[in-house]
């Protein structure tokens, strides 16, 4: 069997649900499941406090990137609120969108760090 070189792609791949060829690849981006809940501390008789929380109904994935060119951010901004297919190097495939981009300047460069919250939807699409 001949030797083969293997390349591990680390990153996140985002493409419009209706045009999977038009993908944006965010190399070395970190993808993490959000486990946040809406919680409230409630007070009861005798001063007792307890936490009552409700889980997020939709799956949410936080995408965070290392410094990258601003042009990528502009492309992602154009896709805000549109149906996208997200895949990552661990095999996760999620259909959804995002509503806000958080951008942090990297001092002394023309690059920015980016994060967005990708919210899964229940829409269906042929891919």
């Amino acid at each position: 069997m001949p030797d083969v070189a293997s390349v591990t792609f680390a990153g996140v791949w985002i493409a419009p649900a209706d045009d999977l060829e038009d993908a944006i690849i965010l190399r070395f981006a970190d993808l993490s499941e959000s486990t946040s809940r809406e919680g409230r501390v409630r007070q009861y008789a005798g001063g007792r406090r307890r936490l009552v929380s409700t889980p997020q109904r939709n799956r949410r994935l936080k995408v965070a990137t290392p410094p990258m060119p601003r042009v990528v951010v502009a492309e992602l901004e154009d896709r805000t609120g549109t149906l996208q297919l997200l895949r990552d190097s661990k095999g996760r495939v999620v259909l959804g969108t995002w509503w806000d981009l958080e951008v942090s300047e990297v001092i002394g460069t023309n690059r920015v760090e980016l994060s967005l919250m990708f919210e899964a939807t229940t829409d269906t699409v042929a891919v």
Binding site: R42, Y44, A45, R50, V52, S53, T54, R57
Partner: protein, 376 residues
Amino acid sequence: MQITTAPPRDLLTDVQVRDVVAGNIVVDVGADLLDADGALLEDVSADVVPAGQIVYGAYRTIHRTCQVQLARELSWGTVRLRPWMDLTAGGVTVRTFLGVFLLDTPVRQVDESSDPVWQIDGYDLLAALDSPVGATYQVAAGTGLQTAVEAAVAAAGVVAPVVLTEVGDAPATAEGLTWALRDGVTWLRVVNDLLDQAGYRSLRADEAGRFRSQPYRPPTARPVEWVYDATADDTTVVPDAAVEQDLFDVPNRWVFWVDDPERGEPTAGSTLYEVVNQSDGVTSIDQRGRIISAVHATEAADFASLVAAGDAQVERDRQSSASATVTVGPNPLHGHFDIVRLTWPAAGVAGRWQVVGWTLPLDGSDMTLELRKVDA
């Protein structure tokens, strides 16, 4: 109350369930879609918006109603919805069904910025029986209670199990019963008349969509099912309540008689039953210094039924002397005429109370309980 370890909680212990309800909880809601026969069609939880509420009133014709929001359209007129609530604490999840509901035609909320949401009102399965019979209806002498109730439910076109506790072979009626067309009775009235004749509680639809009834027992004779102790470390009592004590019109003498000319003048021991509270509690004749009488005409079939109905009325009157509305953490296990013990020295509240109404928000907020004092 629902039985703490009944399905779908049958893998948990009573202690586990009670600990979760009192713990630091995660509240989740969802719903199952059932067909007209009560069979599971689909889990529609992904489309349930965590908003709305379940409302229960013991003295309402339809005990349970729901207001829920769904992000999908259903066959509103044919399906049934079974909402549920999960409470999770310490890795243990307690799932509770909140009722089975027939759905009204919903209001569709249109907002261009989000997916459409349907606001739905639902009514428990008693609503299916609350329709006119539309004919003269008869139950033959000697028909068993279970048979008679099941027949009426089936004749109303409703498919649901009928569970009558402690029902034996005794007939529902010794002489036969007839409901005339001109009286305009509903199927629910027919069923409740049958149950009343036998000394059973009015019909209810339970959390899983079964019709249920059991022999009437006064609240004082039933065990405490849940304890709300404001002094406990794990209390879920919210420090906000309205307590009212109204003794003015509470009777201390009751007269029950059978209003049937064919049975002659009311006679003690057969068609007349009298109860006197001479000295028991603050509403007694001795304490009030006067006699306050209440007279009730009934259609009881025999003296035993007259006594049963009379004692039930006496209990209702005596417990109505004090009422309270309290707020507690979400406890979806509440059911029909629950008996709770409430200990709250700061509010001057203690003892056994019967829950005659509750409202359970589906967003995880605290719930309200309407209580009537059980102890005289």
